[in-house]
């Protein structure tokens, strides 16, 4: 059943009808369109925030992974460090063989090469890890101080003889070298090397067992002690000045 005549007449008349809207109708629509257009860019910013947060997480992840790799490398390099620790003993042995004409001069000169080696050894350690460097240099300095304290009276007493020996070396270096090669004195070199090597190795061997936290605590406590001493010295100086 389709549309009847009346319905067709109704449809024609209603489709031809036009009703003018009110004057402010367009203004209202314009305002609604403006609001809708302003809302659109915020969606883009939302995507930007999401992308930025993802990039941030990736960056943090890469930094964390690289940090763990560095820790692994530093642990691997501990083996190299121990080998480097053995080299100074060999160097000191060679140097002792070369320079030790007497017992006293050997003691005096074995302490000095150790000082040189202890200064030169931390260089590769700095390249590996700063924390390791500070601890090792601290240990080396402690050993040197101990050795120096032990050997200081001997050094002071025998300084004159050492200077004469050095002068003699300058004069007859070839003869002395030949003498040294034939007459090696193992006792003096061993005693000096034993003390340094054992102390160093025992302290350094224990170091890999320390956790990162212990190392940080040690370094912080050392810095705290040095700062405390510096402040105490400054206060003493001020009191003396007053």
């Amino acid at each position: 059943m389709g549309r009847n005549k009346m319905e067709k007449d109704f449809s024609e008349k209603l489709n031809q009808r036009e009703i003018s809207p009110s004057a402010n109708a367009w203004d209202r629509l314009d305002a609604m369109l403006t609001v809708a257009e302003e809302k659109k860019p915020k969606r883009n910013f939302g995507w930007l925030y999401i992308a930025a947060s993802i990039a941030g997480f990736l960056l943090i992840g890469t930094i964390y992974l690289s940090a763990t790799e560095e820790l692994i490398d530093s642990e691997r390099n501990d083996v190299v460090f121990e080998n480097n620790e053995q080299n100074p003993t060999e160097n000191t042995e060679n140097r002792n063989e070369v320079s030790s004409a007497t017992d006293s001069s050997a003691v005096a000169e074995t302490s000095n090469p150790i000082v040189k080696d202890s200064d030169s050894n931390p260089k590769p350690i700095r390249q590996i890890q700063n924390i390791r460097k500070t601890n090792v240099s601290q240990l080396a300095e402690n050993n040197i101080n101990q050795n120096n304290n032990q050997n200081q009276p001997i050094i002071n007493q025998k300084m004159n003889s050492v200077s004469t020996v050095v002068l003699a070396n300058n004069q007859n270096s070839d003869e002395l070298l030949a003498m040294v090669q034939t007459k090696s004195n193992p006792e003096t070199s061993k005693t000096s090397v034993k003390v340094n090597a054992k102390n160093l190795l025992s302290q350094v061997d224990g170091e890999p067992d320390q956790s990162f936290r212990d190392k940080v605590i040690n370094s912080v406590s050392k810095n705290y002690r040095s700062a405390k001493v510096a402040i105490a010295n400054r206060n003493n100086l001020e009191e003396e000045n007053h």
Binding site: M1, K5, F10, L14, Q16, P21, W26
Partner: protein, 186 residues
């Protein structure tokens, strides 16, 4: 030639309106708003409410203008949006329910002739209940089929037919009353 030019002009205006060109949007609004307000008025008795609905529907027209594929009439596309907006409003506000009535006879109203004015026609339509009015407008005025009306309102085809039957019957009574009133017999 003139028709082609008008068609191209409409294409260009739509293209500009898609790019949020406010002048083009205003041109479209100025051209179609009187007819669309008339469409809204068919379904909504109050003119202010009809205008509000027309503005909301035009808002949807401009936000969805990029989806218009230029396959049919642009006016027809806008008109469809207006009708959907009115139907949604009525169903949300008036809570219309359609009762399915299988026991009806398909009466013929072909013999009825009318010389009513547009205002009289609108008066007769306004007098119908909301459910009848929606189906009568969709079928008799807009020319939709019962299947299309069923899918638009979420009702069955037979329900649409029965509702139209009741609407016609009621409208015939109103027409006869109006005729008698205009003839001075009552």
């Amino acid at each position: 030639m003139k028709v082609i030019n008008l068609h191209q002009e409409e294409h260009e205006t739509i293209r500009l309106a898609v790019g949020n060109n406010r002048q083009a949007q205003q041109m479209i609004y100025t051209k179609f708003s009187p007819k669309m307000l008339s469409v809204c008025r068919q379904y909504i008795k109050d003119l202010h409410d009809a205008e509000d609905l027309m503005i909301t529907a035009f808002m949807k027209v401009f936000t969805n203008l990029k989806h218009f594929e230029h396959k049919g009439s642009f006016e027809g596309w806008i008109r469809r949006i207006m009708i959907n907006e009115c139907l949604s409003y009525i169903r949300a506000k008036k809570k219309v329910s359609f009762l399915e009535d299988e026991c009806y006879q398909e009466d013929s109203f072909n013999n009825i002739e009318s010389n009513f004015s547009v205002d009289d026609i609108q008066f007769l339509i306004d007098a119908l209940p909301e459910g009848y009015k929606m189906i009568f407008n969709l079928y008799a005025i807009e020319g939709y089929k019962h299947q299309e009306i069923g899918s638009m309102l979420g009702i069955s085809e037979s329900t649409s037919k029965s509702q139209l039957h009741h609407a016609r019957k009621m409208l015939q009574e109103q027409v006869s009353k109006l005729k008698n009133y205009s003839n001075g017999t009552e």
